[in-house]
Structures are given as structure tokens and as C-alpha cells.
């Protein structure tokens, strides 16, 4: 029996990745830290920790807590700032995975300043706009408003031809509405979803456990919730999606691909299991062989019938 040749290569709106595995923002640093224990052969792209224009100190500790099947974090965008990042960028270029840079700013203007600088770097393949960081003391996340999302995307879009991805919060009444507004304003793809807001209370002190009170919930606990959002957005828009929310193994990955995801984002898994990318790709390949599937395109979105 002739075997079909299997390809895991993934096309995200013109961005060609060697495989669909993406390391999510905030859970893989800037990649370099992982070199010793991650095999980058198994990673399509890494999304950097979200950068801001100026360095940011982050929230007071404790910043992380384990909950049932989940992790609450309140890092608060601690990062070295765009300028220092670009100073170090040469070291990142040699990583054998594509680099997507995640950015956040309070204002459109600051977003644009950052994008213009990133646009000059040939090795940056795509930019992820973090419209959904839950750990900042601001009233609203950009992606909690369809209008705000549209106006930010429209403004930023003019600054670059690179692939632009918006990362959305799942915490809205109608995520399709927000996704659609980003799409119509010219976004290339979406990153779905960021964490859900939660708290933990220390039963000894009777006070909130995290230094910042609120944290973002990630991990297996949010998988069905994330999957529902990916499912709904893909159904309406058929737009490229980097899915994240509790993906730990190939079956999780398949569920998201069936729902319509283009890329498989690993977040919490990176904190725990450096072998996850290899294992997922190996099992995915085996699944494809067994089911005579030669490319992920054949199974993408099939849950919609």
C-alpha cells in the first residue's frame, strides 16, 4: 500500500511555518531561554513575551497559583521594553523557528511607534497585537470593545505589511462581533484566546493570594471555553486562527483543528512539559498516517460539516 506523503507545513495568511505548533506569548520568554531543553525543530513559531515601548516591572508576587486543572497568573507584562529587545534581537535570529513578536501599548500612537520599528526587522515574520492582557490595572481591554478593536487595527494596519494578528480576550458577550470588526479593519489573523480572569483566596490569611488580586486562568480548565470561541469565530469568518487554551496533547490539537484553527498554540504546557511539541507532532503525524490524511488542510474546520 503506497503511503501518502504527509506534510505538516502550515500557511498562515502567507506566513509559511514548517509545522503548526506555536509557543504562546509569555510562556516561552524570547525563545533563547528554552534552547537548552526545547528542540526547535518541532516548533513552527514562537510568539515572544508581550513587549511594551518602555520596560515594565510587572506585578508584585506571588504571581502564579495552581487551581483545579488550571493555572492563574498575574505576571503583569514584565518585559525589557522594545529597545532592549531589538538590541538583543540578533541572538534570536539563529533560532530555527519563525519569530512572531507580541506587542502592547495603551494608545494607538505607541502601538504604531512599536510597529514601525519592528517593520524594519526582516526576521520578524508577524506581529501579534495583544489586545487582551488581563493583568493590567486598566478599566477595559481593547478587545472588549469591537469599535476600539477596529479603530486600533485600522490605524496600525497602515504601518506595516507584515502579517498582523490580534489576540483577543474570550471575556466578551459576542466574540464573533469583535473578531469581525478586526477582520474588516484589515487584520490577517486572530490569536484565540487569552486567559480568563480569576482569583484565588488564601484560606490562612483570608486575603487574595496573588499580589495583583486578579490573575488570568489558563490550562486544561479553559479548553472547552477556548474551543467554543474558536469554533464560533471560524464558523462565521473562516479566518486564520492561532488557537490556545489548554492544549497539551495531539487530541487537544485535533479538536482545535477540527474547529478551524490554523495553528496550535501551547501556553501552560511550555511551563511543564518541554517534550510537548515533539510529542504532539509525532502523534499528529501518526494520526494522519493512519487516517490517510496528507495535509492539515484536509481536516481543518471539518467539525462544521
Amino acid at each position: 500500500m503506497a503511503r501518502k506523503k504527509i506534510s505538516l507545513s502550515t500557511n498562515f495568511r502567507g506566513l509559511r511555518l514548517k509545522n503548526p505548533v506555536v509557543l504562546c506569548s509569555g510562556t516561552a520568554g524570547f525563545g533563547l531561554e528554552l534552547e537548552e531543553i526545547f528542540d526547535f525543530k518541532n516548533i513552527g513559531a514562537i510568539v515572544t513575551k508581550t513587549l511594551t515601548l518602555r520596560p515594565q516591572a510587572g506585578n508584585p508576587p506571588p504571581r502564579i497559583a495552581e487551581t483545579a486543572s488550571g493555572v492563574l497568573n498575574s505576571i503583569g507584562l514584565e518585559n525589557l521594553g522594545l529597545k532592549s529587545f531589538l538590541g538583543e534581537f540578533n541572538k534570536l535570529k539563529r533560532l530555527p523557528a519563525d519569530i512572531i513578536v507580541s506587542v502592547y501599548a495603551h494608545t494607538k500612537e505607541d502601538f504604531k511607534k512599536m510597529i514601525l520599528r519592528l517593520d524594519e526587522e526582516r526576521h520578524i515574520k508577524a506581529i501579534e497585537l495583544n489586545f487582551s492582557c488581563p493583568n493590567l490595572r486598566i478599566k477595559k481591554m481593547i478587545s472588549q470593545s469591537a469599535q476600539l478593536t477596529a479603530s486600533f487595527v485600522k490605524y496600525i494596519r497602515k504601518a506595516t505589511k507584515k502579517v498582523l494578528i490580534a489576540k483577543l480576550t474570550p471575556e466578551v458577550t459576542d466574540i464573533v462581533k469583535v473578531a469581525k470588526s478586526a477582520y474588516e479593519a484589515g487584520i490577517d489573523g486572530l490569536s484565540l484566546v487569552n486567559t480568563f480572569s480569576g482569583i484565588k483566596i488564601d484560606t490562612t490569611t483570608k486575603k487574595p493570594f496573588l499580589g495583583n488580586v486578579f490573575g488570568g486562568l489558563s490550562g486544561p480548565a479553559i479548553k472547552p471555553l477556548a474551543l467554543a470561541r474558536v469554533f464560533r469565530v471560524y464558523k462565521e469568518l473562516k479566518i486564520p486562527i492561532i488557537a490556545s487554551g489548554g492544549i497539551f496533547d495531539y487530541q487537544d490539537a485535533l479538536e482545535f483543528i477540527f474547529a478551524g484553527a490554523t495553528c496550535i498554540g501551547l501556553g501552560t504546557a511550555n511551563l511543564i512539559d518541554p517534550d510537548a511539541p515533539r510529542r504532539i507532532l509525532k502523534d499528529l503525524t501518526f494520526y494522519m498516517e493512519r487516517n490517510r490524511i496528507s495535509s492539515l488542510e484536509e481536516i481543518r474546520g471539518v467539525a462544521h460539516g
Binding site: E33, E36, K49, A65, N73, G219, N270, L271, I272, P274
Partner: protein, 258 residues
Amino acid sequence: MRRIEASAVSLKKVKEETFLLSFKSSYIAQKASPGQFLHLRIDPLRLLLRRPLSIHRIEGQKIDILFRLRGKGTRKLSLTKKGDTLDILGPLGRGFNYTDKNIQGKVKILVAGGMGVAPLFFLAQKLTAYRDVLVLLGAATKKEILCKKDFQKLGCKVLIATEDGSLGFKGRVTVLLKHLLTTQYSALSTVIYACGPTEMLFSLRPILKTAPRAVCQVSFEQFMGCGIGVCRACVIKTAKGYRRICKEGPVFDIKDIS
């Protein structure tokens, strides 16, 4: 740093709620230095995050971890059976500095509060090449004092402090240290290595105020995510801003902590 799978050699109950877990790894035995820790994935079906535990002792290729029951992770770990596979990431972090020139020739005082003995024993193993190692073991009561004989076997001098006075000096181990620094040892000619509850470690600062040039290296704890420096969960405030316990630490110079 690597992820290894090692099979447990033994698990012993050494005291009420305190266990000694042994496994073999030539890689860790070769690479590890005192004060570094291991990140263990304990119960993948029920627990997500790894649990950080210090390297307690290394003999040949045998690595020991000394731990106290705390919650789900350590409870499950205490049920480990000989032959069980351990999923370990390590060795991680930056340990104690014990090789610097300006440390040689000085008296080393190891100050342990409760489970704080865990990394200090491995340090003592490395220090026995030098003379003058004094170990101060502190706990609430006599029953909780750990590793006294082991330190003595290495040739260290051991002093005990118990809060209830059931053994040795009555009071906190840091008070004993203060006493020694004002009577027998000059802070300038000693190097202090400490590990224990955060509150105890912070109480070292006023003691050392009178000896601003004393070297005091302290191992801190914080709730961790990755353990390898990528998530920035495990920070402590230093004079230069937040630093990661898993990467720039767990051992810091107490003067740098704000």
C-alpha cells in the same frame, strides 16, 4: 539543565511528615552545585505545575531530596515506591558561591530554619574540604531538628536552637546567630549561608546591619511556574528591581534584597 527520567531508589520517612527521596542520575550528580534545585512533575493526571525541591545530598550518582508534606504534590511524592519513574528538570538556578577567593579562610556559618537544611547539607558536603564549618539548626521543637548527625559526620560543628527550648539554645536560630556574631565570631571573618522561611531570612537583615561588609548568601522561595526563567512568575524584589528566583536565584546576597 535537562529533563530526565530517573527511577526512584528509595523513599524513607525520616521524621513526622518529612521524607528523603533518592534516585540516581549521573548527569545531575555531575552538573549540580549546592543551592540549585530540581523541578519535579509529580502527578501529571491531577497536578499541573512542577514542584521545586532542593538538591539535599549527592553521593556518587545518588541524589537525595529532603521534603516536608505541604499539599497535594508533596503528599503524592511521599507515596513514591522504589522503581517509580521521576520526571525531573534540572539542575536549575544559581546556587551558593563557595569557591570565591574572598570566602576561603573565613568561618562558614550555615543557618537553617526548619526545612532550610535541605540545600545546606549539599553545601556542607562541598565545604568539608575547608576547615571551620559551623552549622546552626533551628526549629520550633527538638522533634523537628533534621540532619544533626549527618552534619557532625561530615566534621561540621553543630549548634541547635529550638523555640521551645527543648534542645540547645532557647529561641530562634537567628537570635543564636546574632549572639555568636557579637561574642565569638566577627561578622567580617565569616560567611553566612542561610535557608529557611522567608520571614526568618528577612530577620537576618537587622542582624547584619552592624556588619555591613559581612557576606551573607540566602536561598529564597517563591511560587514558581516554569522554573527555567521564561514565565517571570517567581520574582523577588531586589535593589535593581524584580529578579527571578529560578534563574538569578534562588540564592541571593541578602544586601541585594529590598
